[in-house]
Amino acid sequence: MRSYTRRKLLDSLVRVLCCGAVVLALLPLVSVLGYVFVRGVSGLSIAFFTELPKPVGEVGGGIANALLGSLEILGLACVLGIPLGVLAGVHLAEFGSSRFATWVRLAADVMAGIPSITVGLFVYGLVVLTTRHFSAWAGAIALALLMLPGVVRSTEELLKLVPESLREAALGLGVSRFRTTLLVLLRTAAPGIAVGVMLSVARAAGETAPLLFTSFNNRFWAGSLEEPTASLPITIYTDAISPYAEWHERAWSGALVLVSLILVLNLASRLLLRTRVKAS
């Protein structure tokens, strides 16, 4: 009986410790979100989303160019990175035992660990120096490189989760390997892959360092993808290090918009995962 009481006691103790750890871990997240919200919400208005930033001394204005620029760069990065990443993931899942695949997998893992500033420098050397100007393209390439490893590995892992019996079912029906992969395996794994992709995109969306030397910044609308382009993270960065109080305010509001964007991406992927679990 004494051992039972001891067990109960130990149980409650460990439980309290676990709960404490959770609270401790959540504290930074909640306080960051709360503080950004409190500081940033006052600056939000319709104009904030539709107008260009005003010069120092003038009131009002917004970050419309940075918002559009971020979406442009991110969209382009998706167009470049997602198909490539998904295809590479399919290769790893389907031909994963070859020597080549082993190297690709290793490369993806190493790439996932490369500091983002290094990616920015790499694209600076590769694109910016050769074209002799900053551009949205360069920023998009940098972000695509950052999201690539996540997309590759999540595609591979989720394809591997598709039961072997489905592949056999399709092959047994005389379906070619190509069509089996495309119409059965990818289709079955699609919701899960979408989640992995979204998380990778969300990660890239908040990156500042790789954009510093690639898409740079622009106080005005960018005329084309060939020009330096404003983005949310860079705008927040330059506003925040400026000496002007009103720019600081703008940085807070910009941060709130960026955080919300990433939060929405994350929550959407969670939701997708949940509906997927319910369906199966």
Partner: protein
């Protein structure tokens, strides 16, 4: 349908009348050896739809099938029995070239479908599998598809345009006696059915491609006795139109559904004969031991 000797028909099919010619032409040592092996069996005359000749299968370097010679009679049921790991599943998977799907697996020898060796260089494995359908141990309907789409999946995934999908669905589901049970919920997920229904759905899916041979790899091992009985009835029905090979662990099942039975042991074919002969007066000691439950 004229009946001819098994080996000859394999060579001359689809024209069985030329059998005597073919028998004469055939004089290689392996051929005569095989003939002596079949001639004194009580198999009688059968029309083989398929025929394995010197079929060997490997996983990596391990030989799991040792030179199998076995005819698969047309419009009859052939049961493959034997203890676990004896190569019976591998054997049927070699018949429609599903064996080689597993990394490191390969097969040597010949498997004739009508008179064509499916392992010939120019033969497309994908086409073989359309003619030789397969039903697996565990029901495996596509989880992303409705009942209707599961039935049509064989055609759709192959890019075949379907003129009258509803007719195909009804015809295929009627063949497996599932139509009345599911006709009001064709848009529900295929995985929402019971295990036995799922297995019949999978059989319907195979039949929608109108195969010539149906391979069933322990189709009832995941089913309860009632669902098993339904599938067995179905096998009885289907044998009128298809050559059927059924792998089973269940000896009673083999006795109930099969016209011919092959006993595999340690990767080799021990005995092949009419089912009643196998079960009442087997020629091999090992067969008798197995069917009387002394091992396996």
């Amino acid at each position: 349908m004229s009946v001819v000797a098994p080996r000859a028909a394999a060579l001359t099919s689809p024209d069985p009348t030329g059998s005597e010619d073919a028998a004469e032409r055939r004089s290689s040592p392996s051929g005569s050896e095989r003939r002596s092996r079949w001639d004194d069996l009580s198999v009688g005359s059968i029309v083989p739809k398929m025929q394995a000749e010197g079929l060997r299968a490997y996983f990596g370097k391990m030989e799991v099938l040792k030179s199998i010679d076995l005819p698969i009679a047309d419009k009859q049921v052939t049961a493959v029995i034997g203890p676990s790991g004896c190569g019976k599943s591998t054997f049927v998977r070699c018949l429609n070239r599903m064996h080689e799907v597993v990394p490191g697996a390969r097969a040597l020898g010949r498997v004739l479908l009508d008179s064509q060796n499916v392992y010939d260089k120019g033969v497309d494995a994908v086409r073989v599998r359309r003619r030789v359908g397969m039903v697996f141990q565990k029901p495996n309907p596509f989880p992303t598809m409705s009942i209707r789409d599961n039935v049509l999946s064989g055609l759709r995934l192959n890019g075949v345009s379907i003129e009258d999908p509803n007719a195909v669905v009804e015809r295929s589901l009627r063949k497996v006696a599932l139509w009345d049970e599911v006709k009001d919920r064709l848009d529900r997920a295929g995985t929402s059915l019971s295990g036995g229904q799922q297995q019949r759905l999978c059989i319907a899916r195979s039949l929608s491609l109108e195969p010539e041979v149906l391979l069933m790899d322990e189709p009832c091992s995941a089913l309860d006795p009632i669902a098993t009985a339904r599938v067995e009835e179905l096998v009885h029905e289907l044998r009128k139109s298809y050559a059927i090979v059924i792998v089973t662990h269940n000896l009673q099942q083999a006795a109930r559904v099969a016209d011919f039975t092959a006993f595999f042991y340690l990767g080799g074919l021990v005995e092949y004969n009419r089912t009643d002969v196998i079960f009442t007066r087997p020629r091999e000691r090992r067969t008798e031991d197995y069917i009387t439950g002394r091992f396996g």
